[in-house]
């Protein structure tokens, strides 16, 4: 690298280190996001309070309800009367009610139908579906055990043996944390880059820079190298926290991960440079960067919301979001491994996008103030 680029990169690093707002975007915010998504946000339902109403606590009812005490998903709240349970549900103190009528034991032993009533709080649809599923699980387990113990023919003629692959513990953290890498790298590559260049325009240093023999290519390269290195730092930080703090498995190869991350970082840098070349104002550059890069990386990338459950038009739109390809790539490399069929198409898409954004920036950047 020639001396001018080295000088620009050195300058840029000093500025990042001395400027509290850059530090916040490059280091503090990523750590906060990782901790938040690693510990705080969970899309799983665990330790859900559930009211258990047995109108007559006979051995049959007891044996069924004991399954809920063993389940890690529920905190059972025994209630004597249905009316009390309904009040708890209204107050939000429980998320569902399992109701056994007084004749449950008699009907069960009589060999007839012994209905169980399940009422679920449907306000949070996601949790409601999970509660429904977990209760069914408890019920199936109980049936199976009863069948085994009494050598009765199984109540269900064809048992369903389900196995969950890639994320066997069904921990949402395992796919949230890898996806977060896309958000963090967008933050550094696009938002921070757009802000620092706009600041050079605002403070008049860009004008001074341009009047020196430095070429426009060198100015751009100085920025790309700096924020590429910072972004790689963000990647290493995220991977380290994912592996050692949150115990997320990395089943694919690290080098492949690094390759994909580099391609995405170049795309993000391309977007950041393009934004700040078009607007030369920190406020506008920040707003545009958040709206066209950061929010889509959060919402439209499949990081939190499944793309296939979005309306068709929005699904089409997600194809324009680079983070979409990167999130798919990340979740595969972390949880499934080096699956060529997923990885190569996504990497190809990222390479095309990086080339487009950087190429366009190169094309419109002139060493002129106009």
């Amino acid at each position: 690298m020639n001396r001018r680029i080295t000088a620009l990169v050195r300058k840029e690093f000093i500025q990042v280190i001395r400027d509290p707002s850059s530090i916040a975007i490059a280091f503090v915010l990523p750590v906060i996001l990782l901790l938040l998504f690693g510990y705080g946000v969970s899309l799983d339902a665990k330790r859900v309070p559930l009211a258990l109403v047995a109108e007559r606590p006979d051995p049959a009812a007891q044996s069924f309800l004991s399954g809920f005490y063993r389940s890690p998903y529920f905190v059972p709240v025994p209630v004597e009367r249905m009316a009390d349970a309904e009040r708890l549900l209204e107050a939000g103190a429980v998320k569902g009610i399992v109701h056994l009528r007084a004749d449950f034991g008699r009907r069960l032993l009589g060999g007839g139908e012994a209905p169980i009533q399940l009422i679920v709080d449907g306000i949070d649809a996601n949790t409601a579906r999970l509660v429904q599923g977990y209760v069914t699980d408890v019920w199936l387990t109980w049936l199976q055990r009863r069948a085994d113990a009494e050598r009765l023919p199984a109540a269900i003629p064809i048992p369903l043996e389900s196995r969950i692959w890639y994320n066997a513990e069904v921990e949402s953290r395992n796919f949230l944390v890898p996806g977060l890498i896309a958000v963090i790298m967008t933050l550094i590559g696009a938002l921070l880059t757009a802000l620092v260049i706009a600041r050079e325009w605002e403070r008049g240093t860009m004008e001074a820079l341009m009047s020196t023999p430095v070429t426009m290519g060198e100015i751009l390269l100085g920025k790309i190298v700096t924020y590429f290195l910072l972004g790689t730092g963000g990647l290493l930080l995220s991977v380290a926290m994912a592996l050692w703090l949150f115990d997320v498995p990395l089943r694919g190869s690290f080098w492949l991960l690094w390759l994909g991350a580099s391609l995405f970082l170049l795309t993000a840098l391309g977007m950041g440079l393009l934004i700040s070349t078009v607007t030369r104002n920190q406020f506008v550059a920040g707003q545009i960067a958040i709206i066209v890069t950061f929010l889509p990386a959060f919402i439209l990338s499949g990081f939190i919301f499944e793309i296939r459950s979005m309306p068709t038009a929005i699904q089409w739109l997600t194809h324009l979001v680079p983070a979409r390809y990167f999130v798919a790539f990340l979740q595969t490399v972390f949880l499934a491994g080096d699956i060529g069929a997923v990885i190569w198409p996504n990497l190809a898409a990222l390479a095309v996008m990086a080339a487009l954004f950087l190429g366009r920036t190169w094309q419109i950047s002139r060493k002129r103030l106009e």
Partner: protein, 567 residues
């Protein structure tokens, strides 16, 4: 191929540059810059100085015409020019979060100075600029004068052949300005440097070998300063007057169509007439004596001759402050302000009487703005007493604020609101309602001749008009006290005259004016003033007293003298 040695370092031919949709920054402009000398580029704000600088530096492309620098056409090979150029833009182009040394290193790297040459190149630059003890300090923590010298050191570090300086001394104290000139003279003498310097300070232009006068994108003339002065012979007079009648005399002179310019200078008034004959004055005691013309006289005369009628707004207040008794209006005793463990103001005392124009002077960082903000009730007082119009600032800052009009540095207008919307908005903020609000806004539009611009955004106004609008906003509620923070910074000579004419008119009607400025010649307009230095009062008194005490012929020299005796 041996190229013929060009006799001009920079040759500009038929240059036109427009900024769509409507601005013509340069219009068929032509000039030549002499090599190995300092050339001044002089003109009011918006005349096209910065655009011309940027075109020469290859940062803009001309619409028509061409610029050649040392025989190479800029548009064809900007990189060639930039390798031989030092360009200091208006805000010096420094990285504020880099230290002095880091800024120097960066520019040395960018300009391709070999590492082994650096020590040899840095030492004289640091010594001349007085920056040697501060190499580890962040550029953002330097005073305005230091920043300007660092900016200059950064462009000189690559040993350029051509130096372009865009208003290098705006907002810089007189001592630092003098240092800058010393560095420039030295570089020209030792290295044959060619300098083109845009400036609004006409006393600076007088030190240039040649000056180029630019107005509305066209060249009004180019010659040596002394040649500019020739047509002024017999047209410049000095009238010695006692301070009491000076203000009235000044206003009388400025209203006379035969008089192109009149300013306060030392113990009298300096007058430029349209024809080579003495001005006629009603006061029989006032005797005009002919004096040597200065560049400023010639410049203002030239601008006025451009069919430019000087607009002198006459402000009539409907509610005049009580006049007659000259009781104290602003009383400051032992005022202190601490930031962390640093005292920005340490024990300032002064008294301003009704109807006085009182100046608060000092270099950047001397504590002017801090004192000012405390008096406006914008910054809490750490220690000491301050009363404004009888209201104690420590107990009732809001009450004090209601009695004053405040014009902030850089005018603080709402850029995206139109002229009329700004006025209406400020009228509302000052609590004017209904009929009174309407009449006051109409008054402001008429008095300050802003009616033709009423629908224009404040952002798009020329600087002089912005200043008028800011002044109009501060006067809407007819305050008995007016606070003006650097009101004329970056404003051209004509606009400055207009401004002082207005201030004098207000003072005659009994308005008390507190003004900060770093233009020493403007300080002559003050009845009394204090000069602050490092948070303390260096000297207090009328301009006459201060000059007499130091034995200096002008306030500027008195200031330099006092500062140096402190060093």
């Amino acid at each position: 191929m041996p190229s013929p040695r060009p006799e001009a370092a920079v040759r500009i031919e038929a240059l036109t540059k427009t900024f769509p949709p409507a601005v013509t920054a340069l219009d068929d402009f032509a000039a030549a810059v002499r090599p190995g000398a300092i050339t001044g580029l002089i003109g009011p704000d918006g005349a096209g100085k910065t655009t011309l600088m940027r075109l020469i530096a290859g940062l803009l492309t001309p619409d028509r015409g061409r610029i050649t620098v040392f025989g190479t056409e800029v548009a064809e090979d900007p990189a060639w020019i930039q390798a031989r150029l030092g360009y200091m833009p208006q805000r010096f182009g420094l990285y504020e979060d880099l230290t002095v040394q880091e800024n120097l290193d960066l520019y040395a790297d960018l300009q391709g100075l070999a590492p082994q040459q650096r020590a040899e190149r840095y030492a004289p630059l640091l010594a001349m600029s007085g920056l040697a003890p501060f190499t580890g300090r962040l550029a953002g923590r330097l005073s305005g004068g230091m920043k300007q010298k660092l900016g200059l050191a950064c462009v000189l570090v690559g040993q350029p052949r051509l130096l372009l300086l865009d208003e290098p001394t705006v907002g810089v104290d007189p001592l630092s300005r003098r240092d800058l000139w010393r560095i420039l003279d030295d570089q020209v003498r030792k290295h044959g440097l060619t300098v083109l310097m845009a400036t609004a300070y006409l006393d600076e232009a007088e030190r240039c070998r040649e000056v180029i006068l630019i107005h509305r994108g066209r060249r009004l003339g180019q010659t040596s300063p002394s040649r500019f002065l020739e047509p002024m012979r017999g047209r410049v007079y000095y009238i010695r007057t006692p301070p009491a009648v000076r203000r009235r005399l000044l206003r009388e002179l400025l209203r006379d169509p035969d008089i192109l310019d009149a300013v306060v200078q030392s113990d009298g008034v300096r007058v430029v007439t349209r024809h080579p004959r003495p001005p006629s004055v009603t006061d029989p005691g006032a005797l005009p004596e002919a004096v040597e013309p200065r560049l400023e006289d010639a410049f203002v005369a030239r601008l006025r001759a451009e069919a430019e009628t000087l607009s002198m707004p006459e402000v009539r207040l409907s509610r005049r402050p009580r006049s007659g008794e000259r009781e104290p209006v602003i009383v400051v005793r032992g005022l202190k302000r601490r930031f962390g463990d640093f005292y920005a103001v340490k024990g300032v005392s002064f008294t301003v009487r009704r109807g006085e124009v009182f100046g608060l002077l000092g270099a950047n960082g001397a504590g002017k703005t801090t004192t000012f903000r405390m008096l406006c009730g914008l910054l809490p007082v750490t220690e000491g007493e301050a009363t404004v119009a009888g209201a104690d600032l420590r107990r009732a800052p809001a009450e004090a604020r209601a009695r004053l009009g405040y014009m902030a540095q850089k005018f603080s207008l709402y850029g995206h609101l139109s002229v009329q919307e700004n006025l209406t908005c400020f009228a509302g903020l000052y609590g004017l309602r209904g009929e009174r609000k309407r009449t006051r806004v109409a008054w402001a539009l008429q008095t300050f001749e802003l009616a033709p611009f009423r629908r224009q955004r404040a952002l798009d106004l020329p600087l002089g008009h912005k200043q008028r609008l800011a002044m109009a906003c501060a006067l809407l509620h007819e305050p008995p006290i007016l606070f003006l923070d650097e009101p004329t910074s970056g404003v051209d000579p004509l606009a400055r005259r207009e401004f002082w004419y207005l201030i004098n008119g207000l003072a005659e009607q009994g308005v008390t004016v507190l003004v900060t400025t770093h233009f020493m010649e403007e300080a002559e307009y003050c009845d009394r003033l204090v000069i602050l230095q490092a948070g303390e009062v260096l000297v207090e008194g009328s301009p006459e007293e201060i000059r007499r005490r130091t034995g200096a012929p002008s306030l500027e020299q008195a200031f330099i003298h006092l500062l140096e005796s402190q060093r």
